[in-house]
Symmetry: C2
Subunit: 306 residues, 2 copies
């Protein structure tokens, strides 16, 4: 079973309007509600792949209850810890021209709730084969939260995949996760300077991560692993909505880790699954049949020592 952790879970709302007009009033013709936050998205993709998964994290208030209801409706098992604060919403307004997003800040989490979560997490480690830590931290959760959870997972012998940004990423990498998946911006922030990607992924390993995969949008993935370094990509970038592609990629990497797949196979799966999310009509959804088709088109090449 793969355990995903989402400390700042969200209720994702997508509003369809004919045209966004600042200063105007819009009757929303269509409202889509989804449980969100990076870890939740990873869990939903894993569930779609038929992979046993439990989504945990923090969820509070009526928004938190709605998040749990929507996960249940999607068939995703969850073990969220209840908190007193109200979980955040995200609102995306989609019109013909594009998408405009509004991100609520999320709740403030008191120390006692963070302590209670660590206890819950330790219990769940007993049934987990891989842990995925993904997304932003709400107020009140310390910046070393992922480092602390990585320490607990290492003590329990459960490998960890980390997808984070800023200080939680920096402190998390230093705690020795098995795999970290930064995008180009997160990589530059982590290293403090622009570094060409194959070298950058190797430097992340030197900072503490056992292995690293950098995601480069339409240019695919670069992996620095114990079995060597690889670049994986589709022959040309796909048109579509990149929302959720990173989460689909993390889901494939976590599954590959759980099944001890050879690295080239993991990268083929990850590039194809991310591509399947880009091409999906609904943001963040993946299509298993499209994933299977796209796998045929992914190329994986060893990266020469740079």
């Amino acid at each position: 079973m793969i355990l995903t952790v989402t400390l700042n879970a969200a209720l994702d709302l997508t509003y369809r309007v004919p045209a966004l007009s600042p200063g105007g009033t819009h009757r929303v013709s269509d409202v889509a509600e989804r449980a969100g936050g990076k870890g939740v998205n990873v869990a939903r993709v894993l569930h779609a792949l038929g992979e046993p998964v439990i989504a945990t994290g923090l969820a509070g208030g009526r928004t938190g209850e709605r998040i749990r209801e929507l996960l249940a409706a999607d068939g995703v098992p969850e073990a969220f810890a209840p908190i007193a604060g109200e979980s955040r919403r995200t609102v995306v307004v989609a019109d013909g021209a594009g998408a405009t997003g509004f991100w609520e800040p999320g709740p403030a989490v008191p120390a006692a709730e963070w302590t209670a979560f660590r206890r819950r997490f330790t219990g769940l480690l007993g049934v987990a084969h891989v842990v995925v830590l993904a997304g932003s931290l709400p107020d009140g959760i310390p910046a070393d939260a992922y480092a602390v959870l990585i320490g607990l997972a290492r003590a329990a012998g459960v490998p960890v995949v980390l997808d984070a940004d800023g200080d939680p990423l920096r402190l998390g990498v230093a705690a020795g996760p098995d795999l970290v998946k930064p995008n180009a911006a997160e990589l530059a922030g982590l290293l403090g300077r622009p570094v060409p990607v194959p070298t950058a992924a190797r430097e992340v390993r030197a900072l503490g991560a056992r292995e690293a995969v950098a995601s480069l949008g339409g240019a695919g993935l670069v992996a620095a692993t114990v079995d060597g370094d690889w670049r994986a990509s589709l022959p040309h970038p796909l048109d579509g909505n990149p929302t959720g592609a990173g989460d689909a990629c993390v889901a494939a990497l976590a599954r590959g880790l759980a099944h001890r797949q050879p690295w080239p196979d993991r990268l083929v799966d990850a590039v194809a699954l991310a591509g399947s999310a880009v091409a999906a009509p609904v943001a963040g959804a993946v299509s298993i049949s499209r994933w299977r088709r796209l796998r045929q088109a992914v190329t994986v090449c060893p990266v020469q020592e740079g």
Copy 2:
């Protein structure tokens, strides 16, 4: 006790952002949550005035539960009927330049829930001195819903104030409410042609309403009543946010009806309370001290036969 009915209650969210940028992603710095819908707003103003009130209507799902929680937090007694559908949200994005609104459509209400609501309403009529019917109808509620509720209230001897638009207004007026409060646009829609206001208010009486008050924004109110016709206004329009001014006006008119205030006094209260809402820093809030101050400035003049 004044009973307010809100058949399409809402969770009103106000997001503060530095500047709305279409196509961009915005971190919301401040989120305000409020129970909303016209009848709910009227109930909150009446409660602020110290007037005994019960808010009823339809509320469903986690959003409906949040609406009831927020009313409870404001101290407003409520007797909402639960429905299976999810109550709607409204999102207002406020930046330095103004406010941009997104209105969810609201739930679809099956016939059985509408039948159950009428039973609940009939029960509540036993303790009500005035009923306020205000706002839009959700899908599934028939256009003559206000007409039906007016019939039930008349049978119970409880006077009704109606604030609606379109067919629900037209059918409601024909059912003989004690007072109807259209704004200029609703008045024009109701009469089917532009009519100068004092005459228009009289024509609404001829359509079935016992009395009518037309709200003209900064130009104040025009009332066509059994005691004569009146115009009430402040010496000059107030700067501020007109959101909620109409609901504050309806609250004052319902209170005046409950206490059988002389019409000039009701109109002074209504203009001053609407003005207090316009000048409030929070949309729709009223200030009792500002209301008292503004009352000194309202002029009420009889309207000559036109």
